[in-house]
Symmetry: C2
Subunit: 391 residues, 2 copies
């Protein structure tokens, strides 16, 4: 592919480009460009949603450009100074490096490792003095920062916004200044932050980076964006059989988005296929994804396992559920597994013949479980139950 | 005066005390306390409005406590990073030290220099890293900071608020942490900032300072608070005759406030006096202020000059008006002097026989002025006009 074909492909799939003219000129200049992509070091698990951007970056690498990952370790190490967010403890220096290493291994399933550089924003943000910070803050007004959707909504609905949070867009923007980035890419949820980078580069006397935003891939629920915290994701490092099973569960109405954004299959191929046989289209999609992330040899076995599971077997890889006591009632177990949210819901599942343990249908709602085994709900929800008794 | 008498006097004149119980306990403890007062290094000229607080601090010094001035040189040296406020260029290190020296000389007209310490907040704020700044910012929410009156008003009326400005209350509050202050005093316009100090000390594990706010002295216009920028002030370093004349111009309705807040004369003395003869009350007030700031021997001469000026002479000290051209029309001159805001207003003043030049009444509205001299409007507005022609 040459620069013009890549540009056309970017234009086809991007939601916004600021500015298209600037991007066209830079790509046409023949100079190797620095393309920035931010990464959250507290969530090193990549999923198919990330691949939307990564696949475009791979094309840009193949024509000589460099991808620079900015690991946001500076904020990661600070954690939440307000103490409100208990679920995000500060990371140690070592954790940020381990997570970045894991991140690198995952992105290089798509990207060329030779043209992929990892940087840490603590390298420059850690050196800023209070005076530098005030100078940075002085580039923005409160009203300007509150234009960011989530700030605006939280302010209007009177949810607390820590003063430190107002700095996060500025820090991300300053990363572009520190790197003198030519292009920054991200999901549409990052548009505001990417444009802050563009504005700050101008303030600091640099040529503003070109900004490209890509659509957010819907999750397996077909509604929310794909995200680890929502549990609606297909991880790029998941085992082949688990991945296959999840691909088969992509809702019909968003399968076209999945084809377009996460595979190289052309619309001329997948659109007629989806029209003729949606189930077969899912197989084509699943095989493609397994090929991309596990290689062609893994496809056959993953598909075999998928059919076996569909026929009633437990999958090879499944989530572990560790029980720290001697025994547990079946109702409690169903709640721990996340299959039911109340005793009455758990009872309904058993009565409705939806629950098996080691392949045997459970009929007794008063059952007590004492041994390791596979708990299943319906045909595609499994937990490996392991008792770890304290001595 | 003992601690109880001082406490009673503070309670009488203060607007708010947070908390009265805490203040009573600390004053009663017998320990020497650290009393903090913030100072703006860009405006080293003290006026009678400042004396309201300083007079109370003097009483506290006399019973063994130490006054610590915090010169806000850190922000002074930064200036305005947004570049919006062109009128406040950043100060150099030397300027902040010179201004602080001038500040010290002025406050020690009231305070005991032995128990007055000058500190510079760049000493601790300059050492904070970005991580420290975020930790500080994380102690406050946006909504909490926007409770400050002027932020709220500016936000509601859509005037820009630089993001850096949100830090100013936190910086002032952090000064209390750095000093581990026992008490902070200020005008009522500082209430929010002083309470931030109280809150931050708690966050940083210190006993929160007691906060005392005093009323703002009205200016010579009787309406706005006394302030240099509004031109309605009596400076503590002004020449005795200028000071005397200004004291005589204090509006009747606020003279009681001036007596109470800026002199040691008891209400039993000034209240009946004001009732009997307001003009004589002004003389008593003016003499007291000249005695306080220039000593008793200066009173007689200042009063003599005042009477002479009232009879038509020009005062010894007056504002200079430098004209950088060969000649100027009288209408233009009146506008430059600030006596008129338009040609038509200037004409009315001349026609109404209100304008003199070197003591001679001006009758010609088309007059051109070419020589140095004293321009006056009525009995108490004077400008020394000096032509400085370029060669």
């Amino acid at each position: 592919m040459d620069q013009n074909e890549i540009l056309a492909l970017i234009k086809r799939d991007a939601v916004d480009i600021f500015s298209y003219e600037g991007l066209r000129e830079r790509l046409g200049s023949g100079k190797p460009l620095k393309i920035k992509l931010g990464a959250d070091p507290s969530r090193p698990d990549l999923h198919l949603g990330h691949s939307v951007v990564l696949k475009k970056l791979r094309l840009l690498q193949d024509t000589g450009h460099e991808i620079i990952f900015v690991i946001g370790d500076f904020t990661g190490m600070i954690g939440d100074p307000s103490g409100r967010n208990k679920t995000r403890p500060p990371l140690t220096f070592e954790q940020t490096r381990e997570n970045a290493q894991s991140y690198f291994e995952q992105v290089t399933k798509i990207l060329d490792p030779e043209k992929t550089r990892i940087t840490y924003n603590s390298e420059w943000l850690g050196k800023l003095s209070f005076a530098d910070v005030l100078a940075l803050a002085g580039k923005y007004t409160l009203a300007g920062i509150l234009e960011r959707d989530d700030f605006k909504n939280r302010y209007l609905t009177q949810q607390p916004i820590g003063l430190h949070e107002l700095f996060y867009p500025l820090m991300q923007g300053y990363d572009s200044v520190a790197l003198n980035a030519d292009i920054e890419v991200g999901g549409t949820d990052q548009t505001f932050n990417l444009l802050v980078g563009r504005a700050l580069q101008k303030d600091y006397g640099q040529t503003p980076q070109e900004v490209i935003t890509f659509p957010l891939l819907p999750g397996l629920d077909g509604i929310e964006k794909m995200s680890k915290s929502l549990g609606n994701y297909i991880g790029v490092s998941e085992a082949a059989d688990a991945m296959f099973e999840k691909c088969m569960r992509v809702p019909d109405m968003v399968l076209g988005d999945y084809f377009r954004l996460t595979t190289d299959i052309a619309p001329e191929t997948y659109l007629p296929l989806m029209e003729q046989d949606m189930h077969q289209a899912h197989f084509v999609f699943a095989r493609e994804i397994i090929t991309l992330y596990h290689g062609t040899p893994a496809v056959e076995e993953a598909e075999r396992r998928y059919h076996a599971i569909a026929a009633g077997s437990a999958p090879e890889h499944m989530e572990l559920l560790v029980i720290g006591q001697e025994s547990v009632t079946i109702l409690e177990l169903l709640k721990l597994a996340g299959f039911a949210s109340s005793n009455s819901e758990a009872r309904r599942l058993i009565v409705g013949k939806g629950i098996k343990f080691n392949g045997e249908l459970i009929r007794d709602t008063d059952l007590t479980v004492r041994k390791n085994g596979v708990l299943s709900r319906g045909k595609n929800k499994f937990r490996r139950v392991v008792f770890e008794r304290s001595e």
